[in-house]
């Protein structure tokens, strides 16, 4: 499984209408089963890049290769359908994937159990806390059963305690399902905590400004010294990028 390329981005450029260049000459190749964190300051084009990978938008120049099955996506807002219960939200994904009506319910409940939400299956999004909503969104993304999972700052709106927990949750799911994950964040420690590889994007235009690989990803905690050390290094580079924009 290892070594196969899941996503290949080649000399990618993106510009909205007549606006400035948002992404410029981005080259990236992500292996199957890899957990890559995309890091960058606000407005540097992280979401744009993710949307391009997801096929929600088309590149201006360059090319993107993704698996034929496509990618599942999770956003910062859980974007659950507010009129459906947690289970029905997951079932919607199954239905759109083409799962037979009879199998949907069981599978949805199983997926909710994966994110420890079996008890909240019949609750509606507004009855769930932010962390629970994101876990439902994760279950929904898993329901799509696509080899690639794209995540756009999925934990940014959560409080720190919940976020720490969901880091563990996500790592567990990743290890268990072997998905290829591209995780967008502007939290340096989060990237250092989660990723096997951290890719730093520069701003205006977005370019790859740095890349770090983490050797041992098991038993990491956000307080681990190796995470802190890497964070200091990445922060240094990131602040350099930010300072470039002050002038």
């Amino acid at each position: 499984m290892s070594g196969q390329t899941a996503i290949r981005i080649d000399r990618l450029g993106k510009r909205f209408g007549a606006g400035p260049l948002v992404l410029d000459d981005v080259n990236l190749s992500i292996e199957t089963g890899e957990f890559v964190c995309l890091l960058g300051a606000s407005g540097c084009g992280k979401s744009t890049l993710l949307n391009l990978i997801a096929g929600l938008d088309r590149p201006t120049t360059g090319s993107i290769d993704v698996p034929a099955e496509g990618a599942a996506v999770m956003f910062q807002e859980s974007a659950l359908m507010p009129w459906l219960t947690a289970r029905q939200n997951v079932e919607l994904a199954l239905r759109l994937r083409g799962v037979a009506r009879t199998a949907r319910r069981t599978e949805a409940l199983e997926l909710l159990d994966v994110v420890n939400l079996a008890d909240a299956a019949e609750k509606r999004p507004h009855e769930l806390s932010g962390g629970m909503r994101q876990r439902v969104a994760l279950a929904r993304a898993l329901a799509q059963d696509r080899p690639v999972l794209l995540m756009d700052e999925p934990f940014a709106a959560l409080d720190a305690i919940t976020r720490d927990l969901l880091h563990e949750e996500l790592e567990r799911v990743w290890r268990r399902t072997g998905r290829t994950i591209v995780f967008v964040t502007h939290n340096v420690r989060e990237a250092a905590r989660l990723g096997q590889r951290v890719v730093l994007l520069s701003s205006r235009p977005g370019r790859v400004a740095g890349e770090w690989r983490i050797d041992t990803t098991e038993r990491r905690r956000i307080e681990s010294p190796e995470v802190a050390a890497l964070s200091i290094e990445i922060t240094e580079q990131l602040r350099k990028e930010i300072r470039r924009n002050a002038a």
Binding site: M81, Q196, G210, W212, E233
Partner: protein, 323 residues
């Protein structure tokens, strides 16, 4: 670190192998597969418990005393003051009738059967007219909401039509349809359709773009996106439009009934109002105004309010949803 430096380390094979190992575990029976999962599970359960507080709906008695009782008391006080004024100041009964006169007028109308007839006629017309407006307005609204160039062209016109008082259509309708029920229905349609169309358009416009994107990501085609996501999401706007459409139907109906009397037009509340006016019967006029008001409020309370409340509560858009 220079701008284009990359720190690549290829020694991640071990981690990858471990991941692959775990990925082989079937999802369904995963309950106890992971190491430390139980710990996580109890932590998550605790946090979930802490972060969701059960909806404590206010007690029925509290709701009654805070929101039902005060207006009733106010109305009773108002009526008492009115009766007192009539008793003390003895105004001319053809200018300021007492509450008793108005009540008598209602009783009289009831006993003669005119009141029931008028209420039934008006309600029937109002409801039928409203339903026609819904049948006409819904596809029109959907069309305008989904076809953007069309919306750009027709949308402002429809909004403009909402500004036009529907009474203004009465004279034209009388010339076109004579004093027949068609006149009444035409006026009701001209009043209600723009509201319904606008409600639907704004409902669709207010669908969070994120929901559409999720739909696309989940693999929905155009039709399924519309039926499974956009339409349910636009429901609050649609219901608001329907509610407003009903208000306009009722208004327009009264206008049409008051102005277009005679001919083959049936006897509705508007006609009753106008008749009372012609007989200089202020008690009858006020009684009819009261009936019109009460019916308007009743329809809203009995039909639209629960519909809207249920929908909003389901979506947590009502006060009482915790977050």
């Amino acid at each position: 670190m220079p701008h284009d430096a990359t720190l690549l380390d290829e020694r991640d094979a071990a981690a990858r192998a471990a991941a692959a190992d775990l990925a082989r575990t079937p999802e369904a029976s995963a309950r106890t597969a992971d190491h430390g999962h139980d710990d996580l599970r109890s932590l998550e359960a605790g946090l979930d418990r802490l972060q969701t507080s059960p909806d404590r709906a206010p007690s029925a008695w509290r709701r009654f005393t805070t929101s039902v009782l005060p207006p009733i008391l106010f109305v009773v006080a108002l009526i008492a003051a009115w009766q007192l004024y009539v008793v003390i100041a003895q105004p001319r009964p053809d200018i300021v009738p007492g509450p008793v006169d108005v009540f008598n007028a209602i009783v009289l109308g009831w006993e003669s059967g005119r009141l029931q007839l008028a209420v039934i006629t008006s309600l029937e017309r109002g409801v039928v007219g409203f339903l026609i407006a819904v049948i006409v307005g819904t596809p029109l609204g959907l069309l305008l909401a989904e076809v953007k160039p069309l919306r750009r062209a027709v949308g402002p016109i429809i909004s403009g039509l909402q500004v036009l008082p529907s009474v203004a259509w009465v004279p034209a309708a009388i010339l076109w349809f004579g004093l027949t029920d068609a006149t009444v229905y035409f006026v009701v349609l001209m009043g209600a359709v723009p509201s319904i169309v606008n409600g639907l358009i704004s409902g669709v416009e207010q669908v969070p773009p994120q929901l559409r994107r999720v739909g696309t990501v989940l693999g929905a085609n155009r039709t399924r996106l519309a039926t499974l996501i956009v339409l349910p999401a636009a429901l609050p706007g649609y219901v608001a439009g329907l509610k407003q459409g009903w208000a306009f139907s009722w208004r327009s109906l009264m206008a049409a009934e008051i102005i277009a009397m005679g001919g083959t037009i049936g006897f509705g509340l508007g006609s009753m109002l106008q008749q009372s006016r012609e007989l200089a019967d202020i008690g009858g006029v006020l009684a009819t105004v009261l009936v019109i008001l009460v019916i308007g409020i009743l329809i809203e309370l009995a039909f639209f309010a629960p519909l809207e409340r249920r929908m909003l509560r389901r979506r947590g858009l009502l006060q009482g949803g915790t977050r």
